[in-house]
Subunit: 569 residues, 2 copies
């Protein structure tokens, strides 16, 4: 069966399925989203206008029995950066879409009524359902009401009140395999784009469609090798399953790049209170609903996610991730995991990106409006987001707006998006990624913290390193495989080559990840140039080139002239 | 005597005079500022960083006995737009600078101490004087303390608390000839750039330097003709002297381009309460300190300024201008001149641009945070600016930030600067100017409301019209003559030619204004391209191309492709 494209026009209240256009067949995930946005949308559009697009795209391997291949890519024009954005997540959305035969959903137009709409998709067709009772509800409660209405097994993408109000730090939550809306397309403010369309949720029914593999034997053999390599690799076989991404807390602190008190230090004195070991101990000692090793979607061999319990063993939040701990914790001067988890849960419920929010809270702390280290101040500020009070609206618009309103100069952002858990002065490849990624200051382009042959503090080698990592991860995000689950095989491209050949009978060839990623980056750059970006926008904020960061007391000094060569490929 | 350049480095606490470099001799005012910024500063700099520049430049005829030729140009990189900005004003600053032989002041670096500095300039040299007692004082009180300290006859440029706090709607006030700091370099947020340098005021002593005219006879004859033409022209001989710029209120309302309730209508039902005739009647009937015909600087033949009195005849504010009445009045739904004058005085005192502020208040009204038509709400919001409360900080950052924070889509701005008293859908040349002027949405590039051969509502002819007007007014601002005082002679270029030849022995030739302005625009565009702008940024906000404006129910429909040809000259 030819996969389908679902087109939704909110202005005209139309939902239609069509055969996937030939132009799009070879793309998946992030690259498919980029291709659609570049080909069909106007890069100059107002992200909150009726001509802006929101795309949900499944990866090249979605629906297959491959390992951790059901990431969902949400794409659009970011209201934070004004450029292209893709934000992918685990959960059930992509798998359910593939089961009803849909490869991508393309949403345009704008519904300007007062009642929020739910886009309900099933094998037999789609419809827009008004649901007055979920207006401005939190993500968790919305999820429960949607499960009551549509059943528990559906894939769901949900925004919170922050997205409905079109604030720029708005995320999109996805239902995980256990029925909790805990997987986030967090970055870039795409939840606000969804909100601007009048859409509160997308619900995808189970379906019967199965991806027909071109060569089962080739595919199965590659999966087998994938799993063997993954198990045998210390990071994916031991570290991530046990500690999850919080394993990075000590590593990045040791490197001297853990954002602390609004990027004024690269080390946090309370690091031992918030590290991976503490996460693991708290979960295992408290028992109850806690789980240190949790899979966010079916078929993941690594299971780096977790369920973090409160002291009584009730589930507090899932997952508690490195970037959240860095941004809501160290960067706000907060050295208490339970407090961080509580803030995390609030962000999730309101539909706020924890990274953008942690950055914004810390900028407000630097401005003296909140106190560094004060959980109570942070909690009250987040309640003001929920209650739509003025300070809440500022925070909910992210790092740049918070810095502008409160008159702060140390504002850690690039292209309007807040930096995400790594200080570019302590590990410089990430500074190149923040500056040059089409996504703004987003670590998923590649941090390069552990690249063996590049000196983190020297100004040299980071442009090449970042470019290679950006190729790699753009490829990963196009295949729709998880960045962490794929870690053991990224330098074994033949495995991925055979997974694609086993599925389709073709492969892009070469180093599969990087071949796909290279083309994806080209499309995204083209979109951004058309949206008005130039090399001028490709740099860290000025203060990072002037103000040395403890403990290494380095500035970011990768030469601009070298960075300008990033896209010469 | 060769004129001097004063260089100030706040980081190193150095004030030095040098001979004006040869490169700069042929430039004045806006063009001189552009030349210095382009040649010496980095267009990519953080406007609030230590490498940003603030320039004060006198015009080509400053210090001569020409009519209304002592405008002062303040230039720098705008924190609103991120592009080049020049904001000129009347008052005594330029005349006093010319009297101490200084053609321009170039300020760089940053003083990070807590005590605000005063740059004190005299014929014998300059110094930076700390003055703890003026920290965060209003403009009026600061002016009084500066007069006590330095004497009443000085030229002065002063910022209010808004500038000291680096909020983006911050203006710079200049002392007028009567010792009131009432003339504003209002637009572009340059007061915040001054504040970021740690500079609260610039005080210029009287001096003995006189401009030596190259040919007195030629100069005097041209002045004579200038004055004759000005007197004989109805606008400059009658309308502006009697009504000042408030004469425009009825004209722009009739045209259907008077911004009303956040640019949702082009006509205001209470227009008769706030028009030029009412201004004139209130001033003349109340008597006292009121004055309908006031010169903002020595030697002005038009005297379009006014002193607006309260009901008891005490001076309430000077001047009350068209754009202020439009933006703090009609655009906020406020139809009462005394209320508008009171808000105007508050803006002046806090160091806020009335245009940007009126725009921001109206956006907050649209968001439901304040009520349209409520003087009391507006007054309280401005008091929150003074008291540095959160809503005040939002308003003080201008139209774009207010719209972002409060989640409003109808945000009338271009390149981050708020539109200034004209709706582009009712008079389309101004939309081209707002879109293409290097200054962002600034009417001083040319509104074209009264251009006889162009249909205001048709999409045609506006690009050429705007381009010609931009040439003209950039020339006017480079000569340093007042845009209104020059109105009668702009199409008699030989008069200006002879004024320049009489002063220097040379002239740029051709249509003097447009020859000078053309070169000025080229330099400014070059700066902006280097600062990261592209054609993508040269358009009105999307809602103005979609949402028809009453009463004519037109959208802004000048084709983008035609607008992209603006700089083909």
């Amino acid at each position: 069966m030819i996969p389908k494209l679902c087109r939704v026009d909110l202005t005209r209240n139309v939902v239609a399925y069509e055969s996937l256009p030939d132009d799009y067949v070879q793309y998946g995930g992030r690259a498919l989203s980029a291709r659609i946005l570049l080909q069909e949308s106007d890069p100059r559009c107002d992200p909150f206008g009726r001509s802006s697009f929101l795309v949900l795209a499944t990866g090249l391997l979605a629906g297959t029995p491959g390992p951790a291949v059901h990431r969902i890519s949400i794409g659009g024009k970011s209201p934070l950066t004004g450029g292209i954005k893709e934000s992918n997540a685990g959960g059930m959305t992509a798998l359910r879409l593939s089961q009803i035969g849909i490869k991508a959903v393309v949403i345009t137009g704008q519904f300007v009524g007062k009642v929020p709409l739910v886009l309900h998709l099933s094998e037999s067709g789609g419809e827009l359902v008004p649901m007055r009772e979920i207006a401005f509800l939190g993500v968790y409660e919305t999820g429960e009401l949607l499960k009551e209405r549509f059943g528990g097994g559906c894939g769901m993408a949900i925004i919170g009140p922050v997205g409905e109000r079109r604030f720029r730090a708005a995320s999109v939550a996805h239902m995980d395999k256990d029925g909790s809306p805990s997987r986030f397309s967090a970055r870039g403010g795409l939840g606000a784009v969804m909100g601007s369309k009048g859409l509160k949720a997308i619900v995808v029914e189970r379906g019967t469609h199965k991806v027909e593999l071109h060569d089962k034997r080739v595919f199965s053999q590659a999966v087998k090798e994938f799993l063997e390599v993954t198990r045998a690799t210390p990071k994916t076989g031991e570290m991530f399953p046990k500690y999850g991404t919080p394993a990075l807390v000590q590593i990045i602190n040791e490197v001297g790049a853990l954002p602390t008190r609004n990027y004024s230090s690269g080390r946090f004195e309370l690091v031992d209170e918030i590290d991976g070991e503490t996460v693991y101990q708290n979960i295992t000692l408290r028992g109850g609903k806690g789980n240190p090793t949790h899979a966010c979607m079916p078929g993941c061999p690594v299971r780096c996610s977790n369920v973090y319990p409160d002291k009584d063993g009730n589930a507090l939040v899932s997952p508690l991730e490195y970037e959240t701990i860095a941004m809501l914790g160290a960067n706000c001067g907060i050295g208490n995991l339970d407090q961080i988890a509580e803030l995390n849960r609030m962000c999730n419920d309101f539909g706020l990106d924890t990274i953008e929010t942690g950055g914004a809270l810390a900028v407000a702390m630097e401005a003296g409006v909140l106190r560094f280290g004060s959980f109570e101040d942070a909690r009250q500020a987040l309640n003001k987001v929920r209650d739509n009070e003025i300070l809440g609206r500022i925070i909910a618009n992210g790092v740049r707006v918070t810095g502008e309103v409160l008159g702060v100069r140390r504002v850690p952002q690039v292209k309007g998006q807040g930096m995400s858990g790594y200080d570019p002065r302590g590990t410089k490849t990430v500074g190149v990624t923040f500056s040059l990624s089409p996504m703004g200051a987003d670590h998923t382009g590649g941090t390069g913290v552990t690249t063996p042959h590049v000196d983190r503090l020297s100004p040299n080698g980071h442009v090449d390193n970042s470019r290679q990592l950006n190729f790699l991860y753009a490829g990963v995000d196009s295949i729709g495989i998880c960045i962490i689950a794929s870690e053991a095989v990224t330098d074994k491209p033949t495995i991925m080559d055979r997974l694609l050949r086993g599925t389709y009978g073709w492969s892009p060839g070469g180093d599969v990840f990087r071949t796909l990623g290279r083309e994806c980056l080209k499309m995204e750059r083209e979109f951004n140039l058309k949206a008005g970006f130039s090399k001028v926008h490709d740099d860290v904020p000025e203060f990072m080139r002037e103000e040395p960061l403890p403990p290494h007391n380095c500035v970011f000094d990768v030469p601009r002239e070298e960075m300008e060569k990033f896209y010469n490929f």
